[in-house]
Amino acid sequence: MNNRSILEAILFVAEQPVPVEELAEVLEIPVETVQAELEGLAADLAERESGITLRQIAGGWRCYSHPDAFPYLERYASTATASRLSNAALEVLAVVAYRQPVSRNQIAEIRGVDSDSAIRTLERRGLIEEVGRLPLPGTPTIYGTTNLFLEKLGLQSMGDLPPLADHVPPATVVETLEETFRADA
């Protein structure tokens, strides 16, 4: 796989502008080479009239959908798939519902994966909201569910959610451990 394709793959999944130095480090090639490849890639995308554009912005590079596609994206956003929450978003929603108030880091820790974009989605959809800040370095935001959440789930109050405590016996953890020791021959 060539450098340009690797850069394309990274910028495809990136959730914010990536500084050219960071890309150079990941690929273990000089910064100048990265810069040249990115300029080439951006020109390429523009030339073949791709639906994706690559732009140097806010100290880094990032992929965006092409502005001309905007009216269609708007229509797509109102379709069933786009307005349905993804599996990742549902998992984050479940965590927030049962563990609120909860911080970004706590959510990521529970799920074992970075959950920032799912959190953003839920915030944008009005299902969760900032409810405060933790008195820690960086004063991390903590999240809780909204009234819209109650409405969407047909709940009168949070008390209507089935209680979790009785359903998570610590035994399962023990069993998982046990299985890992036993079965993975």
């Binding site: 959908s65 479940a94 944008r124």
Partner: protein, 255 residues
């Protein structure tokens, strides 16, 4: 000791039988029922000695095998037709279960391969850019309260997924290596701070390894540590004492 190694690699009676069979697959055409039965039985003995759980399933298969072997050794003996039929039925059942077991083991290998392949495809989850993204008119939550509860139970029950020892072994930084590094640094510098010692690390777990190593050094009396208050940098100073011979850390990995 060898028993434990052996017994750890099979799961249940069918699995045991399969392993005994495939162990000789080199010469599968010369598979001898007699050998197979004696090996199976000796395994059951071993398991009993080790106080492993021998279920009725193990015994059932053993008895079928023994019956087959007896019939095998005495082909001309007068036999009860009913018993004979029953034995044949039992044999066919065992055979078909073995085949099903082999089949699904094979499928499991394929699924694992596919799962591994698929994780290499990474999807974009950033969604639309906030600056240009239109607000969806109506969000749909595709579950009800019980569905959400089920998801919460699943996600919260297994923080960080399954513990996987293989992974741990590969990815955990070694406290021993950190110990070695710290010792040579402290020889060199005489006085430094914890932040400086871990300045080169990139992962939190590495910092943890260094911290554990530092505690170990302090315990051995090789360094003195001090801290002004609980958030301030930890100061590390070489203490006068010579290093005792043959220090072993409780973090040493046993092979």
């Amino acid at each position: 000791m060898t028993y434990q190694v052996k017994t750890a690699v099979f799961e249940g009676p069918l699995d045991l039988l399969l392993q005994l069979i495939t162990r000789r697959q080199v010469e599968i055409t010369k598979l001898s029922l007699t050998d197979l039965v004696s090996e199976y039985l000796s395994f059951l003995d071993e398991m009993r000695e080790l106080d492993l759980e021998v279920t009725s399933e193990f015994l059932l298969i053993a008895s079928t095998l023994v019956q087959l072997k007896a019939r095998h050794l005495l082909p001309d003996a007068a036999v009860d037709m009913d018993e004979e039929l029953e034995l044949m039925e039992e044999r066919d059942r065992l055979l078909s279960r073995l085949l099903a077991c082999v089949t699904f083991k094979d499928v499991a290998a394929v699924l694992m391969h596919r799962l591994q392949e698929a994780t290499r495809y990474v999807e974009r989850s950033a969604g639309m850019d906030q600056a240009i993204s239109p607000r969806p008119p109506e969000v749909t939550v595709p579950v009800d309260r019980l569905g959400l509860f089920a998801i919460a139970a699943r996600v919260l029950a297994a923080p960080n997924g399954e513990p996987d020892l293989d992974h741990l072994d590969l990815e955990l930084p070694s406290v021993e290596a950190a110990l070695g590094d710290l010792r040579s640094k402290i020889e060199e510098l005489a006085e430094t701070s914890f932040d400086e010692m871990v300045a080169h690390t990139t992962r939190k777990v590495e910092v943890v390894a260094y911290f554990l190593a530092l505690l170990e050094l302090a315990r051995w009396g090789l360094v003195e540590v001090s801290q002004r208050d609980w958030l301030s940098n930890i100061q590390v100073r070489r203490s006068g004492g010579a290093a005792p011979e043959n220090l072993t850390s409780e973090w040493s990995r046993t092979p």
